[in-house]
């Protein structure tokens, strides 16, 4: 619970899989809609969900190699049955046919609902991702202690 008595929800987004990121955003937006103060902490592969479109990350050789594999929210594939991108296409089509809100639209909804989006500083350093590589709505990069304090105060914590 926060200092003003509002219930809190805090979610770690570690995974960069389309289906898992989807689950994280669905729960986060719903928690915010249910009047919970909600934050999402993006680390490692999860940073793909908040990377700007059309940007290549990385400075050195390994960073650039990693950057080549590092997608944005529209380019990440499901954790199973991706088949080199076919699965991503199939899931998007099936979701659209069922009128399920797309992942980029869910992220936009999260921003509109005032969810705090925190990037992990350490994984950004390791993966050579600059703050400017991430969408403008992100807070400044933070460390584990910031998340742990969020989690201490939270009524719901999830690691996705």
């Amino acid at each position: 619970m926060s200092d003003n008595g509002t219930k809190k929800c805090s979610i770690v987004v570690f995974s960069g899989d389309m289906d898992k990121v989807m689950g994280a955003f669905i729960i986060a937006t719903t928690a915010a809609a249910m009047d919970m103060e909600t934050s999402m902490f993006f680390t490692f592969w999860g940073l793909q969900a908040v990377k700007k479109k059309g940007i290549r990350t990385g400075k050195g050789l390994f960073g650039k190699m990693l950057g080549f594999m590092f997608a944005d929210i529209d380019g990440i594939g499901p954790s199973k049955m991706n088949f080199g991108g076919m699965g991503r296409w199939m899931f998007k089509k099936m979701m659209k046919d069922q009128n399920v809100t797309s992942l980029p639209a869910l992220r936009q909804m999260a921003i509109e609902l005032g969810i705090t989006l925190l990037p992990c500083k350490m994984s950004m350093d390791v993966m050579e991702i600059a703050p400017d590589d991430l969408i403008d709505e992100m807070e400044d990069p933070v460390g584990a202690a910031t998340y742990v304090l969020e989690a201490q105060e939270a009524d719901i914590t999830l690691f996705v």
């Binding site: 809609a33 249910m34 009047d35 009128n99």
Partner: protein, 79 residues
């Protein structure tokens, strides 16, 4: 269900989880405290979900029911 006169109607028909709840939240913020929002939805999960939402937010679910395949909710904004 005709005795409740809503101040505003949200048409969430055709929307899938979690959008009926999220749109309900966004719409309830646009009406005054004490006013009533009518929500129309076709997602069968919305019966449980709108109930849970109103319990969590404290807004009062005055009435809900199903009419011609459409779920109808009447919610009074409390806070």
């Amino acid at each position: 269900m005709s005795e409740i006169t809503p101040n505003k109607t949200l048409d969430a028909r055709g929307l899938q989880c979690p959008m009926p709840v999220i749109k309900t939240k966004q719409e309830i913020d646009t009406i005054e405290i004490g006013e009533v929002l009518e929500v129309l939805a076709t997602d069968p999960g919305s019966m449980a979900d709108i109930t849970a939402w109103s319990k969590s937010t404290g807004n009062e679910l005055l009435k809900m029911g199903k009419e011609d395949g459409v779920f109808k909710f009447y919610i009074r904004r409390v806070n």
